[in-house]
């Protein structure tokens, strides 16, 4: 069973249906329907994906801030959102 709480550095999570309804939430994102609506609006923004860049669609969307980020992906007809804080010793994400 998927456990979003086990993801390292996570401080909050949201689980939505494909239509944007909240299934479960936790941590800093508990009961946050506002962010759920914003994220659903984000992934349903474009009518179609530019086929020259990406054939079907994207596997993951990240919204990156200075000290935290939101990572969004779709799996098993459910939208998974995880809020992760960056570790204190570096302010920017590591080089790949």
């Amino acid at each position: 069973m998927l456990n979003l709480e086990r993801i390292p550095d996570q401080v909050g999570y949201l689980l939505l249906t494909e239509d944007g309804a909240v299934i479960s939430s936790g941590g800093e994102m508990e009961n946050d329907e506002r962010i759920a609506n914003v994220i659903y609006g984000l992934i349903s923004l474009a009518d179609k994906v530019d086929s020259t860049i990406q054939e079907e669609g994207y596997k993951r969307i990240s919204v990156v801030y200075d000290d935290h980020c939101y990572v969004i992906c779709l799996s098993n007809k459910k939208i998974h959102v995880v809020k992760r804080k960056f570790l204190q010793n570096h302010t920017e994400p590591a080089v790949a």
Binding site: I7, V71, L74
Partner: protein
């Protein structure tokens, strides 16, 4: 809103206010049946006379009846126990019917930028953005922004030209 304190005497029609009721009392005569009413109530008096009370009651009853017919009592209703085989039969039956319709397509789902992937944990736990990518995005946007600022019109020819018709 201007409030007018109205003093009137009861009309002859069984204590009810009518159009014949004097609005201003005769200061000279002394009448024991004087009521003080605010102008708001004065307007209200006309609409809440006795026959209206039964209308209100019937209106309430009507609303009650409408609600009772529209309410779906989930707890009290019979649970429709559908057997597994019955369910599968129905699925087959319905899909057959749908397939026989040549022009039917499944309802179009709202567009989604994301594609369905099997194992999300690995992807969610991975590093979201590399420093190089972040740097690339930031410089690209800064250059685009600078270019936009420099956008201007170059005047080459006149837009409006008079036609010299002899």
């Amino acid at each position: 809103m201007n409030r007018v304190t109205v003093v009137f005497r009861e009309s002859f029609v069984g204590g009810e206010v009518s159009e014949r009721t004097h609005l201003l009392v005769d200061p000279v005569s002394n009448n024991t049946n004087i009521q003080r009413v605010q102008s708001d109530d004065f307007i209200g008096c006309y609409s809440t006379s006795l026959p209206k009370k039964t209308d209100e009651q019937s209106a309430l009853n009507r609303i009650l009846q409408e609600t009772a017919t529209n309410v779906i009592d989930v707890a009290a209703s019979d649970s429709h126990n559908l057997e597994q085989h019955e369910y599968l039969d129905r699925v087959k039956h319905y899909t057959q019917k749908l397939q026989s319709m040549s022009r039917w397509t499944p309802p179009r789902r709202p567009p989604c930028l994301l594609v369905d992937i099997p194992a999300p944990e690995k992807l969610l736990a991975a590093e979201p953005l590399t420093e190089q990518d972040l740097h690339l995005i930031t410089t690209a946007i800064e250059e685009a922004d600078a270019a936009l600022v420099e956008l201007r019109v170059e005047h080459k020819e006149d837009l409006v030209v008079p036609f010299r018709i002899p």
